[in-house]
Subunit: 347 residues, 2 copies
Amino acid sequence: MEEALNDRKKRILKAIIKTYMETGEPVGSRTISKYTDLNISSATIRNEMSDLTDLGYIVQPHTSAGRIPSDKGYRLYVDELMKEKESEVAELRELVLEKTDKMEKVLKQAAKLLAVNTNYATMISVPQYSGSRLKFIQLSRVSDLQIVAVVVCENNVIRNQIINLEDEMDDETILKLNLLLNTNLNGLPIQDINLGMIARLKEQAGIHSGVVATVLDAVAATIHVDEEDLEIYTSGTTNLFRYPELSDKSKATELISAFEEKRQLADLVKERLSDTSNTGIQVYIGDESPVETMKDCSVVTATYELGEGMTGTIGIIGPKRMDYENVVDNLKTLKVELDKIFGKKLE
Amino acid sequence: MEEALNDRKKRILKAIIKTYMETGEPVGSRTISKYTDLNISSATIRNEMSDLTDLGYIVQPHTSAGRIPSDKGYRLYVDELMKEKESEVAELRELVLEKTDKMEKVLKQAAKLLAVNTNYATMISVPQYSGSRLKFIQLSRVSDLQIVAVVVCENNVIRNQIINLEDEMDDETILKLNLLLNTNLNGLPIQDINLGMIARLKEQAGIHSGVVATVLDAVAATIHVDEEDLEIYTSGTTNLFRYPELSDKSKATELISAFEEKRQLADLVKERLSDTSNTGIQVYIGDESPVETMKDCSVVTATYELGEGMTGTIGIIGPKRMDYENVVDNLKTLKVELDKIFGKKLE
DNA sequence: GTTAGCACTCATTTCGTTAGAGTGCTAACA
DNA sequence: TGTTAGCACTCTAACGAAATGAGTGCTAAC
């Protein structure tokens, strides 16, 4: 029974899905019969539809209603039927991203653009900089009892933190500390700078160990960003209201909360990062989604890179009947666009 | 006709408002008649209600429905009736804010807490640091063609930016620039560091004017944050779904969008900042709101300070029938709590 | 001034009916 | 054997009439 569908069945399935994508209503045999390409009577369509139902590609909400695609149906569409068409469509709207210095702004804008272009909800995660190497550390005195630690990574991400001291620290000590930190840490991958490493440095610092310990701890904290701190921008969440199948109160509440809280979105990002095998774009349909809340949606994600192992995730969340072609195309162009922007200068 | 209401009318109005706050349904004379405190028959109540309707404190959605408070009614409640009760209620839930170093985290958490405590939507703006003074600037070389500018303000807010150079810059020049910047700018209020000032500095720099100009511009940009950049955290937007009068699709969409876009929330913050006269907490009922989108809501805002003229705004947005006492109390305690945290150490 | 009583209004609910979309099956046709 | 026309059947959505009931306003009596 898991044999490949014959051509006609595929064409009918495709017609059903396309129609359902537009209308959001169950589609009946007569509608498909009038569908341009195929000249088959509704009765024949009915027979085929009956088969497709048995095979699990479409379902009937109730007797005497039309059919709607099942997850399995969408899956086939995304894997096979859609690709056939891909070359035909093309013609992408151009994504005009302002060239601005601030990565943050670019990303916010990208999310917004994507939302406007697709009419779905979008998210984009700020790249994590694990894997990147440390380029430069500098401690500077700001006032008597405060120094500021500035950490620059190879990919030009900057972190900083004010360190409050118990006792004053003379300029010479600060200079020494700077030297110590830079000679020992520069060029090291961020994740190698762990507690053990810091402990060894503390020993080397020797004399001033008291104050130095404070400073080193602070530096370590500065370098290591909390997992929790994963930043995510979202846009177009209210687009979800456009789709009746998602906009009843309880579903909408759950979804919008997910977008506001962002914690669940972070799971999407993690899922994406751990999935190394991939060409770049991943489609989750319904239950396939790594996020429980989105089991009535489809989620399409892409990763973008900006060198040195910094990867971010873009996600589009919409109804299962989302326009997969358009979404995938948009993601592809956005990926290219982001590469162009971030390939040159960062932040 | 604008005479003060007699005591009984006030008590009845208060009873109507309190009841409506709980139920969200128009309240009838019989309901009020059974209301504990007052022993008056429903017929009498009807007469009084008729008067209150004429005076504009309550309205009738349609003949043969109960009454609901008008904006004017709520206003009276907030200004007079509520205060009477305030002392009775008190007993605030304690707001437990984790003591963390990151201002950002504290604020996010505060918004969330407030949302959970009140069941309304909340926002909190990251304090702008206009008015603060410059404490320290440091340029450091990061690589051959890059230097990083770190700017620290008196309130310990740190900004930084990578500056890409056209030509190499020797250590001595960087040292000189550091000196130049610090001697000229330290202690100056941020807003005084404008283009004119920068132009003068450029002249002083003399020889290397080419490169120096780039650097100075970058520093200026670093210091001056866009008005647009006002950061706002929100929480509990989906709480708005709890109130039927706000959760029909079009209203909900508009409101949730407002919270996502944040631009409109920024108007709230601005309104708040320009309003100097105030004791701290402001209640906008319905049309009084500075934000058009929220004309069906009530908005309660408070400002919190963290020294050096840095002020942020907290806002609670809910239905007109919000529990004003509780909201105001919560805001008051949160203000105190934020003062406690930020009074000592920042960011 | 307060209250009981009553007629009246109007939104909401209920329930039966209808209309229509769509199916499944059978029988005929190529 | 695959395709099609035709028809009975199913089930939802839409409609409308009637019942319900909450609430008012007014009048008359206390």
